[in-house]
Amino acid sequence: MFLILTALAAIIATVIWYVKSPDDKYKLGVLSLMFWGATIMWLVDHIMAFASEGGAFFEISTDATMLGVAVVVLALMAWVITLVISDPKGVLKKVLKR
């Protein structure tokens, strides 16, 4: 389930990035690449596990869903931290100058 949720988040982030493009003021490119990186890695992991052990390809359970939600939250947190540090609107600068 976390693979599906991460892939969904990657698609949504990429669509928003594309709509806003070429202006990437809010670093949506970073967010979508982060999600795509994790999606590809988990896809490889799932394919290899399925090929060697068989069983269900997707793990559908409450635990896997909660992990997917936690993954999306962590990625959003990392993106927000990147955004605040880079401060594209200069908001932090203005607040600190007061």
């Binding site: 976390f2 991460t6 490119g29 970073v30 690449l33 982060m34 999600f35 795509w36 990186g37 994790a38 590809i40 890695m41 988990w42 490889v44 992991d45 290899m48 992990l67 936690a70 993954v71 962590l74 990625a75 990392a78």
Partner: protein, 131 residues
């Protein structure tokens, strides 16, 4: 078990390479050579973001499943030799496959970007026609 360590290691190397290219770019000033290096530092940035982002999120999954602990040796698979062997096998197979796949996809992204930018510069170079 610890498959994300391979992409993390690759991310460290590619980040160092990107920083070196950026330094060269700053030293060189401006011109066509700088444009090319800028292109490469930007494109390496795509790979870095995928590798670091993916590794971070996979690390969370490992913490979630209790495979990473806060105290040494940090990886639960390191507590007995049998699990360590399984972990090393997973690193060598799944971890390497993850890093290779990400790099291959990045290679395709770079190739597409190269073709698109060449096509765009050809359009720019052509004289404006019409009545």
């Amino acid at each position: 078990m610890a498959c994300f360590l391979v992409p993390t290691g690759e991310a460290v190397i590619t980040t160092v390479v990107q920083k070196i290219i950026e330094k060269r770019e700053k030293k060189a000033g401006s011109g066509k050579a700088v444009e090319i290096t800028y292109k490469w530092s930007q494109r390496l940035g795509w790979l870095n973001k995928m590798l670091w982002g993916g590794s971070l999120l996979l690390a969370l999954e490992h913490v979630w499943h209790g495979e990473i602990t806060a105290s040494p040796p940090f990886l639960t698979a390191m507590q007995n030799p049998q699990d360590t062997a399984t972990m090393l096998h997973e690193i060598a197979t799944v971890g390497v496959a993850m890093a290779v796949t990400i790099t291959a996809i990045w290679g395709i992204m770079v190739l597409v970007a190269e073709v698109k930018s060449k096509a765009a510069s050809k359009v720019k170079a052509q004289p404006a026609g019409g009545a």
